[in-house]
Symmetry: C2
Subunit: 316 residues, 2 copies
């Protein structure tokens, strides 16, 4: 009766509602779920490399869920790489109607397959492979990385170091490829010792940049594969008494909040994580309600020129 049935007059609805309120009646969601086979809960699956990324993600999902009857269950995975086989078991015992998959889970074939077998719907954020396996929200990582590398090269830099992201995330390779395209277009040789590993965390960026600065021939610019690592690199530069961007330029990737609160503000390329999360949630809800679903959205990226990169001093 409370479920918006078709042939009930508004007046009656109103009275029923009042009576329900008066009796403090709340339908039992388990009984409902049991018979409807629907929990009205969705999950957000993520690993934990960059807090700012996760925050944006979750904000986006919750934004789309406001006013909706769905509740959000957060499911952090220590290491998708290691626990892929167990993830779907967890999900089905949580009885979720569907899940939003953030990287690197969104790229994991084991998870994708088991999800299909378990008939759990999903929508994905930033996958790079198997794009038709499930609805996807992407940016063009290769192009975005190429553009910011182009920009840095355009400033006159030729001695450029790179801090890579987490190797278990496919976007790390994609961004690497974009950088390399820009390098080869400009005829710059990328030396192996100029590539530092990282994990998408502030600490890993700090450590990587310390390594870079501790070595003899210092680059004039650093491309970090996300903003957290870029901010770590800025910290390392300060430790070495280098000023940014005069002594060394640093650029990031993502436009996460941290890029706007540092000084100088970080030049980066925007990935609209919040909007991607909203769109992914929309795709998931559409599936749950048997509406038409977009199979794939490529979201726009945008080079954001701020103050952390400038021409190298020799050209200054």
């Amino acid at each position: 009766m409370l479920n918006d049935e078709p042939h009930v007059s508004p007046a009656v609805k109103q009275r029923v509602r009042e009576a329900a309120d008066a009796l403090d009646y709340h339908p039992n969601v388990f009984a409902q779920a049991l018979v409807r086979r629907k929990s009205n809960m969705i999950g957000l699956i993520y690993e934990n490399p960059s807090p700012s990324y996760v925050v944006e993600l979750q904000r986006g999902v919750l934004e789309r869920l406001t006013g909706e009857r769905y509740k959000l269950v957060v499911i952090p995975i220590r290491s998708v790489q290691e626990h892929a086989g167990e993830v779907v078991g967890m999900l089905r015992s949580a009885a979720l109607d569907g899940v939003v998959l953030a990287p690197p889970a969104s790229d994991n074939p084991i998870i994708l397959n088991q999800l299909k077998d378990a008939r759990i719907l999903c929508a994905r954020i930033a996958p790079t492979r198997l794009l038709d396996a499930a609805p996807s929200n992407l940016i063009d990582d290769v192009a975005a990385a190429r553009e910011i590398a182009d920009y840095v090269i355009g400033l006159g830099h030729r001695e450029i170091a790179i801090i890579r992201g987490d190797p278990t995330h496919a976007s790390t390779e994609a961004r690497m490829l974009g950088y390399m395209q820009a390098f080869s277009k400009a005829d710059i040789e990328l030396r192996l010792e100029r590539i530092e590993p990282g994990l998408f965390t502030f600490d890993s960026g700090l450590a990587a940049a310390r390594d870079i600065f501790a070595r003899g021939d210092r680059p004039t610019a650093i491309l970090a594969q996300n903003d957290d690592m870029a901010v770590g690199a800025m910290m390392a530069a300060r430790e070495f008494g280098l000023s940014i961007p005069d002594d060394v330029s640093v650029v990031g990737f993502d436009d996460s909040e941290v890029s706007r609160i540092t000084w100088p503000r970080l030049t980066t390329v925007r990935q609209p994580v919040f909007e991607m999360a909203i769109a992914a949630t929309e795709m998931l809800i559409a599936q749950l309600e048997d509406r038409d679903v977009m199979a794939r959205i490529t979201h726009p990226h945008e080079l954001l020129i701020r103050e952390s990169a400038a021409p190298p001093r020799s050209l200054g």
Copy 2:
């Protein structure tokens, strides 16, 4: 049978488990919940002023929940102040076993009362009032604020501005009180125009500090009631060409991640949000499982002296 019954031999258990795996059997959680009247889900209720605070909070809850059968449902509230009356209705329709209450919900008498009426268990983070209404995790906000103010005054500052937190959070008043105790002990007069309102956000700190710097007589130090606002104040200082800590000292409150990634690093006073969230979740689980529950834990705070505060230039 799968529920760890007492009189079953290990061998039988093992075989049952194998059979269950082979058939890919998963118990239906709704049927269980229906008859047991227990959902194995807990909620985290928060408002959204400072992302770094929320991240720590959620990390703590999830940390305590790893390996536990409980799932976490996140419940952001736009404005606890405005929607206190509706919160508990939402919760009971979500059928949660219990909730962790972050400020300002943890201080809200309406929510606390309705929770009790609805027999939803809870544990609280950083309440300042009604401390015996439900298990509480606190720090001594007054003492912590007094200590950091003492420190700044001890550096030689006497022209000190304050950026307040969100007025709907009770800790704002508590910290204010701590500052004032330090001021009066040092015989410093606190002028009204030296108190700027804020909302615990970076942007509000930025705006508040711009106001402060735009006025004629500039303070030599700023006490911000959390780190996000302090970092906003640092940004404003840069905009005015002021260097930190030489021209102006800035200190924060919380020791959130952002305080460690700025340059100079932020002098602040640590509130162990992560540990408080773990403890609150522990208190909640203990209640759910009828174990003894600590009624209140006062967590230690700690003054963290970093580089964003120094003696005023006149003394330098």
